[in-house]
Amino acid sequence: MIAVLHGTIAGTVAAGLLLAPAEPPPLQRPDSSPAPTTAPDQIDPGDTTDPASERATEGAPGSAPGLADSAADSAADSAADGSADGSADGSADGSADGASTDAAGSTTEGATEPNGEATGPSSEGLTEPAASSESAAESAADGDAPAGDGDQEVLRVATERSGPPYYTEGDLAELRERHEVEIDSPPPPPAVRWRCLIADPTCRHSFEVQTMGGYALRARQGDVSRGTVDRWHSARAQYDFWVSLPALTETVGKSRFTRMSLGPKGGVTFSDTGDLWGNLGIATRYWLGRGRWAPSIEITSALSFKLATREARTDADSEAFRMQRGPVGFQADVGFGLGGFGAIVVGGQYDSPLAREDVPEEYRLVSSGMFYVGFRGNILWGGPAAAAVAAHASTRAVNRP
């Protein structure tokens, strides 16, 4: 193949020199490799019945036929311009016809099968085996390029098609039918509102400000000797920030959609008596549709850790909002949402005990936790923010055992 290409370019250079004016500029080869000497004579110039030629000239869309035509026209023009050499008519006709045929034909076949069957007005020139580019350049530089109908040596140059598409419309139609591909892409989905500040399947990334307000059934380890558990009804308000990254996407036509998002999240959670936890974890959303109000399943899990409380640790302590340490626990919930606007969430939280023997007894903590049901969503449309603040405010009325 490389030899074929070198042969092609060498022949092209030679032909260009033949068609150039009497004193062409000095040519510089693109590469430093010596020019092949077998180029022009191995080109089959006149196989006009080549099937590839028919395909290029008839069926193939794109640039191949156009290139061939333009090459022929340009060759004819160049040859006509070269009439300063006194070879206007014959050279122009022969070059135009030959170039057209070669451009539409197959270079590979002609170059790889030098069978000497070339006929027509160009066969004389092509039977010269030593017509290398250097010799052609020298002869062209000397101004004695062959011309005329009889003694003229005309080099025919075959040009490959420039590249894809290799398929006709018929081929593509068959391909579409085979793979059940629609001819036209579906129309793009409507533009998303809120510039992806509220999650949407059409968004690649979403940075969501989420709040949740809901009911919580809280529990705490009681008297171990009697095996009791303290339970009480309370409320839970959570304020989180989600970074939703596209973990799984799908393509419809030329549009991509997020099927599942996954990313880190963090925030704080409040409950009664000023209990405050921080949390950092992972939020997942799996979209069940592609519309603005597409349903989704939300799953979050996070490490949770106590930050503050109003609860007095001892009877001597006054009730005041203060920092409180606690070992890392966890929380997890699952929700069913609509379009990133809001979701009904069910989950639970567990606070690990701090009961190591090396910790002084007054600093030990019992295990505790809660189950909760709430409404969580993006604060931008107001509903989830109101729900969270309302739930937070309702903790004032909680009677804690």
């Binding site: 370019i9 040519l27 040009t159 990334h205 959609f257 963090g266 008596t273 921080g278």
Partner: protein
């Protein structure tokens, strides 16, 4: 390429002494005046630094390629097409850092000062980062550097020291800490909301254990962020006989601000404050 070159040679009229174009590659001035150097693409090679591969498909909400407002080249919430960004981005030459954080970890005093205890804090941070190698040249570069300062309020300390008279216990309710650090950023690609790794080394001033005396220690942190919106990090404060290691999450102030406001409002209405 070779047939195309051949066609050009065939069709090209002779033009004086002009050399062939393919013989010697010359810098090609782009439309915006930036000259591309042959063989030097500003080091944007490697697994993380390559630009996004062209694709026929895109998210409907994805900004268009090109230049101009809304085309995706100018980072969102920026001025001067990335000369200064209020939210850090991969194409920002200078960016404001302003965020809130929560973190949890462990507080490890010296062995004779008491047991390891859980530690958690919340806080705020601000700073400025620049991309020095993007000022002179318009080309993208992954390195950024800046200064950050922050304040956190952490859980208190517990000490339990054994002596001849018995065990002496002490406790503090809270642990404030102030930090100043030099941050080095390594942006991992050029996409919108690109991931980046931030390394911070600096100092921390905070009360040591239950002494009530504030000392200056070393602060170190490595963070992994997405654009300027959020990041997770692991940090350590190393003071005299008082080491705190924490793992946290950080959110930009534009997002964290409303959350903090709502939380304070709720806490006030709920009687926590």
């Amino acid at each position: 390429m070779t047939p195309l070159l051949a066609s050009l040679l065939l069709l090209q009229p002779p033009a004086g002494d002009a050399p062939l174009e393919s013989a010697s590659p010359e810098p090609v001035p782009a439309e915006d005046g930036v000259t591309a150097k042959a063989g030097d693409e500003d080091g944007e090679y490697g697994p993380f630094f390559q630009a996004e591969a062209p694709s026929d498909t895109s998210f409907p909400t994805q900004p268009r390629k090109g230049k101009g407002k809304g085309s995706g080249k100018a980072p969102r919430l920026s001025v001067g097409e990335g000369a200064f960004c209020f939210v850090d981005g991969s194409h920002c030459k200078a960016s404001l850092l302003a965020d809130a954080t929560v973190a949890a970890g462990i507080r490890a005093p010296a062995s004779n000062k008491g047991p390891d205890m859980p530690y958690a804090h919340f806080g705020f941070r601000g700073g400025l980062v620049i991309r020095p190698l993007m000022f002179k040249r318009k080309a993208w570069h992954p390195w950024g550097v800046g200064v950050v300062g922050g304040w956190t309020l952490g859980t208190g300390s517990v000490t339990a020291e054994a002596s001849d008279s018995g065990i002496t216990q002490a406790e503090t309710e809270r642990t404030p800490a102030t930090r100043i650090a030099l941050v080095n950023q390594l942006w991992l690609n050029q996409k919108t909301h690109a991931p980046h790794i931030d390394f911070s080394i600096g100092g921390v001033r905070s009360p040591v254990l239950t002494s009530g005396v504030s000392l200056i220690g070393t602060h170190a942190e490595v963070a992994f962020g997405w654009g300027g919106w959020g990041s997770v990090y692991a940090a350590g404060d190393f003071l005299d006989r008082d080491t705190r290691v924490s793992f946290g999450f950080r959110a930009h102030g534009i997002a964290a601000g409303p959350l903090v406001a709502l939380a304070i409002l709720g806490a006030a209405l709920g009687g926590a404050l």
